[in-house]
């Protein structure tokens, strides 16, 4: 029995990130409970749960992106490709939508595989060949199968709550006529508010970075899912290179032709620093392509 290789490194990094997020959240909730804000906390969570439902609504996401649902006869080939991929993935076929934009891109929306929608831009359909387009659809299908919308939203629920506590705590605690230094045992309630706000701010900052890291790992996972579904990691790799404009950066002119023009000096050192990297929701395309190439070697 043949088995696809598992990426244990990616798995353990993902588990580590989720665990750290859990610790940050648990500490935050513990801190709030210690202060005795049980009911407030409950209300915040209920409001957050309502927000989830709101933000997860696929129709909202679609209209926000200017996407239009595609009828079966509008793009029969695209639908057939999707039908077969979902049949192999063993999930219901998501609906297809199109966004009228020259920027090549695609996204998945929806709470569960049952009401998922996968949208592609017209630019993506023009730029990519059929194999690459299929690989991108398989990537989005993997997001649907991995329930990434739900995972990221739930991971961000307390983070959003912390952000609001930070904002309101700071404006409430910071308002008023200056800080009145307490003469006796009474603690200034505004000082407590400021401390709560600062803790919430720290929780927000830490969870933000962790969620971004989690999001990057999920991109790697979806890339992997696409490679396994199509059996061709190279198709997604070339699609990513095209979408990111990486191919345009590879020169087409002969080395001898450009040497006289001191070409080596104007090649931009475009590699981004790691400080910027930790804020990104997506891993750098070069890293994703490298991972796909590694997978292709393992699959051979």
């Amino acid at each position: 029995m043949m088995r696809w290789p598992r990426d244990w490194g990616l798995q353990s990094r993902m588990i580590g990130t989720v665990a750290m997020l859990g610790v940050v959240y648990a500490a935050f909730v513990g801190f709030l409970v210690y202060l005795g804000v049980g009911t407030v906390m409950l209300l915040v969570i209920v409001a957050g749960a309502l927000l989830i439902q709101y933000f997860l609504s696929d129709r909202l996401v679609l209209s926000g992106m200017g996407a239009r649902l595609l009828a079966e006869d509008e793009a029969p080939q695209l639908h057939e490709t999707m039908t077969r991929l979902s049949a192999i993935a063993g999930i219901p076929r998501p609906r297809l939508a199109v966004v009228d934009s020259t920027v090549p891109n695609a996204f998945a929306a929806g709470r569960s595989p049952k009401n998922a929608v996968i949208a592609v831009t017209t630019g993506l359909m023009q730029r990519l060949n059929r194999d690459e387009l299929e690989a991108v659809l398989a990537h989005e299908l993997s997001h649907v199968r991995n329930r990434d919308v739900v995972v990221i939203t739930i991971a961000g629920l307390l983070s959003t709550a912390a952000f609001f506590i930070f904002r309101f705590g700071l404006s409430l605690g910071g308002s008023g006529r200056g800080y009145r230094g307490g003469g006796g045992g009474q603690i200034d309630p505004r000082a407590v508010l400021v401390i709560v706000a600062l803790v919430a701010g720290a929780v927000y900052g830490a969870s933000f970075l962790l969620i971004r890291a989690l999001s990057r790992y999920r991109e790697f996972s979806a890339d992997r899912g696409s490679a396994l579904l199509t059996g061709q990691p190279s198709h997604l790799a070339s699609a990513l290179a095209k979408i990111s404009g990486l191919m345009e950066r590879v020169p087409t002119r002969d080395l001898r032709e450009v040497e006289g023009m001191n070409a080596f000096f104007i090649i931009p050192a475009a590699s981004r620093g790691s400080i910027l990297g930790i804020l990104d929701s997506h891993p750098p395309v070069e890293a994703r392509i490298a991972a796909l190439e590694r997978l292709e070697r393992e699959m051979g």
Partner: protein, 189 residues
């Protein structure tokens, strides 16, 4: 959603499910009812559709299957051909007037692919029937069930498909949600 699926989702490792061939053989007995009640006869051909994988190992498996097919041609007189459709899926088309041989051939090829680890890439098996019109029974490996497909020009004869379902409900594991009855254009049968 079971615990295993939930864990896979959390880890982002949703896997491709295995093929389910438990009820693939059911078509062998269903054929009698098709003849008696609907006047549909086996058209003498059946096919298996799967996603080709580009790798040295996949090429070896393909060679192995061709050997099996060549062997079957000598033993049972089942002729075969391999085709690639416009979506680059591979079709193994079998032709034999003996319906049992067709069923056995499809089973053997799918079983071989599953044993070599390519079960997740099996899309469907298709059996063709002829009467006053051409009808297909399509078996999807992920759901392990059959559904009818009666193409008419660019559309399909749903009334006929529902009749087929009504007649064969007892004998054939039929896909219950009709949303999954996806048409398959350009079946090379």
């Amino acid at each position: 959603m079971g615990f295993r699926e939930a864990l896979d989702a959390l880890l982002g490792t949703g896997r491709i499910p295995e093929a389910d061939t438990e009820r693939l053989f059911a078509i062998a007995t269903a054929r009698v009812t098709m003849q008696a009640a609907l006047g549909l006869e086996p058209a003498g051909s059946a096919a298996l559709c799967f996603r080709p994988i580009d790798s040295a190992r996949a090429a070896r498996v393909r060679g192995e299957i061709e050997e099996l097919l060549a062997f079957g041609r000598e033993e049972t007189g089942t002729s075969y051909r391999l085709e690639t459709d416009q979506y680059r899926y591979t079709w193994v088309v079998l032709e034999d007037p003996d319906f049992e041989d067709l069923v056995a051939g499809i089973h053997l090829i799918s079983q071989t692919l599953i044993e070599r680890g390519y079960g997740p890439y099996l899309l469907c098996a298709v059996y063709a029937f002829d009467g006053n019109r051409r009808a297909y029974w399509i078996f999807t490996f992920k759901r392990g069930r059959y559904y009818p497909f009666v193409p008419v020009d660019e559309g399909r004869d749903s009334a006929c498909e529902f009749r087929l379902r009504a007649m064969l409900e007892r004998e054939l594991p039929i896909e219950t949600s009709v949303e999954e009855w996806y048409p398959l254009r350009g079946i090379p049968l």
